[in-house]
Symmetry: C2
Subunit: 157 residues, 2 copies
């Protein structure tokens, strides 16, 4: 089945377009900020910490799924995070093969520092935002976050 063309409703097309524009614009912004701050950690590291903060301790496999990387990639990321003492590996009580990965206070601080650094890098471009515009950004991110967190990747669809 090559090149499956799907006909979307006008409404769905509008939604899809808005979503694509959000991720495109954000991608450019992220890239700008990452270079401005001379970021050294990979995005996956920060995604992983973000997941751990909101979900609490998770197994490596769960963490991989939620951070959208393959399991061996997450094994590697967790090794690095554990060496930095940003996460702690806790032996799983119920399964000796597994670990519970938890963010540490040090990891939490690193995460906050990263957020501050990133925010400051972007700020000069956005210091003129109106209250309404700030609200728009906050709403947009909340809306996306609510729908993306905890979504498994469905292989079929």
């Amino acid at each position: 089945m090559p090149e499956q063309i799907t006909e979307l409703s006008v409404r769905d097309a509008l939604i899809a377009q808005s979503l694509v524009e959000v991720v495109s614009a954000s991608n450019r912004l992220t890239r700008y900020a990452a270079r401005a701050t001379g970021e050294t950690e990979s995005p996956a590291v920060w995604r992983t910490l973000a997941v751990l903060r909101t979900s609490g301790p998770l197994r490596i496999g769960e963490l991989a799924a939620e951070s959208r990387v393959a399991q061996p990639t997450m094994t590697k990321i967790v090794r690095g995070l554990a060496e930095s003492e940003w996460v702690l590996r806790i032996a799983d009580q119920e399964d000796a093969r597994a670990w519970q990965i938890a963010i540490t206070a040090k990891g939490e601080r690193a995460f906050q520092t990263w957020r501050a650094r990133l925010g400051e890098a972007m700020l000069p471009l956005f210091s003129d935002l109106t209250d309404e515009e700030i609200e728009v950004l906050a709403s947009a991110s909340a809306l996306v976050h609510a729908r993306i967190a905890g979504q498994l990747l469905t292989a079929g669809d």
Copy 2:
């Protein structure tokens, strides 16, 4: 000067926080969509085409700056794009060292196809959006796009 801590105004802190949340949420969403679609091209390729579409033909150096990659990286990206016939290299009239890089009709089609594919991958998570929420997403991306396009990276600050 290690670990420069800057005190932001409450307002700036709010803006910075909203921005960080936007890029974090979008990053997770992008990553979801990229895996769902089995994306093969790098994000930089699509950023580059997006820049060319809105800015018109650019030199490799300008394109590198605007797409937020180093110049040799852009040389490599353009080589790939030219091989796919998604861009055309046009000898610069005013400088024999330089090229004008222009998107082709084929490149434009590839870009649109990518957008459609990406949008459809995200749609299932967002099909319940209200009109107001769609508007919020569109406004947020417009707002970001307007401020990020054409911004050079200031080495100082």
